[in-house]
Symmetry: none
DNA sequence: CATGAATGAGGCTTCATTCAT
DNA sequence: GATGAATGAAGCCTCATTCAT
């Protein structure tokens, strides 16, 4: 059976092509938007024809789904890896997630922005699947906050869900303005934000100095 | 010339009509997206015809510009009002801006989301104008942080620009999830976020307890 | 309200345009088939643009629906007119329906053939509606046969449903071959077929001659 | 040369494959239509690939031609077998043709409907070939009627061509509604229709009863 | 024999915008 | 001021067919 003989090879080739399509369209979707990017444009950039595109993707929407799902799954996986570590404190884990998200901007800023902005173009079922993953990410985050409270690392007075949304806002927003190759490094930004999250901006030393 | 005789009255009427168009399209643009909302749809909801639309707006894009600019100008104005107060400390002003932004969600969530997501459909010149206003809002915010540092209210070690982006992220993100008529009130959320920004989440009492 | 002032006039104009579209596409659908006729072709023949077509019809399928429904409704109406006559015998009514159907070929052959062949392109709901009308036509026909049996005009041994299908077959088939402007007239063909239906082809005189 | 060594064997295999393609596509063409059935669909149902299809058929149209021709040839052959019998009367032969056509529905309804509906997709030359066969079938039928008249079995007043079309209509139409496995058997239907054709529906006994 | 990637042409549909009335 | 018919350009998608392997 040919499937058994060259199945891997052609599967591989198909994946290579799909990867090329994804890479090209991430660039375009981020710059111009999903609706504003025509399939014609994607294939022109790639130097193939529309037929080729539709050989690999049933629809433009399916391509968007792939981009969104792969983005979210990657994020969930990285989060999982961090949370599973039993040696680290919640504070350390919080730092690692923040750092992971900031570091992620370099490789995934475009995907992330596509995810945030274009998700609504997905069909109901795909949308449900993706929203479930997004919710999972947030709930794991929140569980970390709750664990930190339980362990006495974080203030007992916190409202875990609101605080989680707030923390998420800080890093998510970075995807819109942070330039990973600019003056400030990813580590520095992660440090700044973890400090903001843990300690806030109020000057506690001011009283002593006076 | 009618302009001279009843100029005010017809200007007023034109504005009323424009307001109706804006109100209707904000609803649609937020729910379905700018590109996904056709002029046909807008006028159908309003019970008028396309001719009417194009009498008041040169193009669909001009309508979007109006929405975005009016959103941003309103925000700038409210910010200005808060910052001009010479009696209040920087901490108090920070609180007021956060509260203003959260409170704003009820009336302006849709406009805000349109602003964030659809801005890219504007022509270069409109885009410049709007980005300038957005930058101004952020710079005023940053100046408040810097003033707070200078006055010893905020830590001297802060990186004002990054911190400003972080603080902005917290509230901006709320526009995507916060339900003003849900369980938690706007005041409560503002309190939580100002506390997060000022004091962070670390439990400082824990040492005493040990 | 303009609707009240010129409503009739623009409605009329819309109908004129719809009629032109229908007329043009009946010609093409019959000659080439529904799927094989592109909207492009229809509008080219009409000398308008595709936009115009879609101003009047939501889709190509809706046009087909209009053609099919109007064909069937017209038929039902004519059948109704014949059946309602209380003076005539069943035999006379049978003759009139056969004659009506044959006469109808001249004006409606193309519609009829489109109806028979292209109906399957309609959406489920339209299909149901149309099939209901077709069924009604057949049931009225069958009721006429049953009435004729009851009145002693037709043989008591007949199987009304099968006979109805058979009679229908005779005239329906004519739509595929009969040329109304050929050598044989519509009246003559109707006479031939009614004689076939009533008396059959067997030579009953042959015995006497022997 | 393999042709010389195992020519028969591979010819046979090719025929087997062609038969499978035909069987599969008859099913699909009848259910969805010729144009509406893609080659992709046919090969998917068969579990092979497009390459295989195009190895056996030069084009989709050639496949349709095969289906139509084989349908018509089979019919002609069966008709020929009946007509050649020198023992039987014209009335008996008429009965046998009607019965043959009705019986044929079970095995060939789909082919027949494809023949009627999709013939127009054939190229001019194929079309000529097929129409010639269809004409031959009808002419043989008509010759039977004429012979019956000459032999005194059928009325001398009949118009053979019109009557032939009428008789054909009765059975052809059955292909659209008759369910061979329904309540009424093929024999019963053939009996009903031959009785209709020979004797008509008029009640001749009614006078006696009065 | 058979695969399956790729082409290219064409189809349906949408829509911002214009313009005569 | 407002209508609504019409345009024209563009978009998504399908599919028979080819061809290198």
């Amino acid at each position: 059976m040919p499937q058994l003989l060259n199945g891997n090879k052609s599967l591989e080739r198909a994946n290579i092509m799909k990867e090329r399509i994804i890479k090209t369209s991430i660039e375009l979707f981020d710059r111009k938007g999903f609706k504003e990017t025509s399939v014609q444009e994607i294939v022109e950039v790639m130097g193939v024809t529309k037929g080729a595109f539709y050989y690999y993707y049933k629809s433009k929407e399916e391509l968007l789904k792939d981009i969104c799902i792969s983005y979210m799954e990657d994020l969930l996986q990285q989060q999982q890896r961090i949370l599973q570590d039993k040696e680290k404190s919640c504070t350390e884990k919080l730092y690692e997630i923040v750092y992971m998200l900031i570091r992620n901007i370099k490789a995934r800023r475009k995907s992330a922005r596509i995810f945030f902005r274009e998700m609504r173009h997905l069909h109901e079922d795909h949308l449900q699947e993706i929203k479930a993953k997004r919710r999972a990410f947030r709930e794991h985050y929140q569980q970390l906050i709750e664990a930190g409270i339980a362990r006495g690392e974080f203030k007992p007075t916190l409202t875990p869900d609101m605080i989680t949304f707030g923390i998420l806002g800080i890093t998510n927003w970075s995807y819109y303005w942070f330039q990973p190759d600019g003056e400030i490094s990813e580590e520095a930004l992660a440090d700044i934000y973890v400090d903001l999250i843990l300690n806030g901006i109020k000057n506690r030393e001011s009283f002593k100095e006076k």
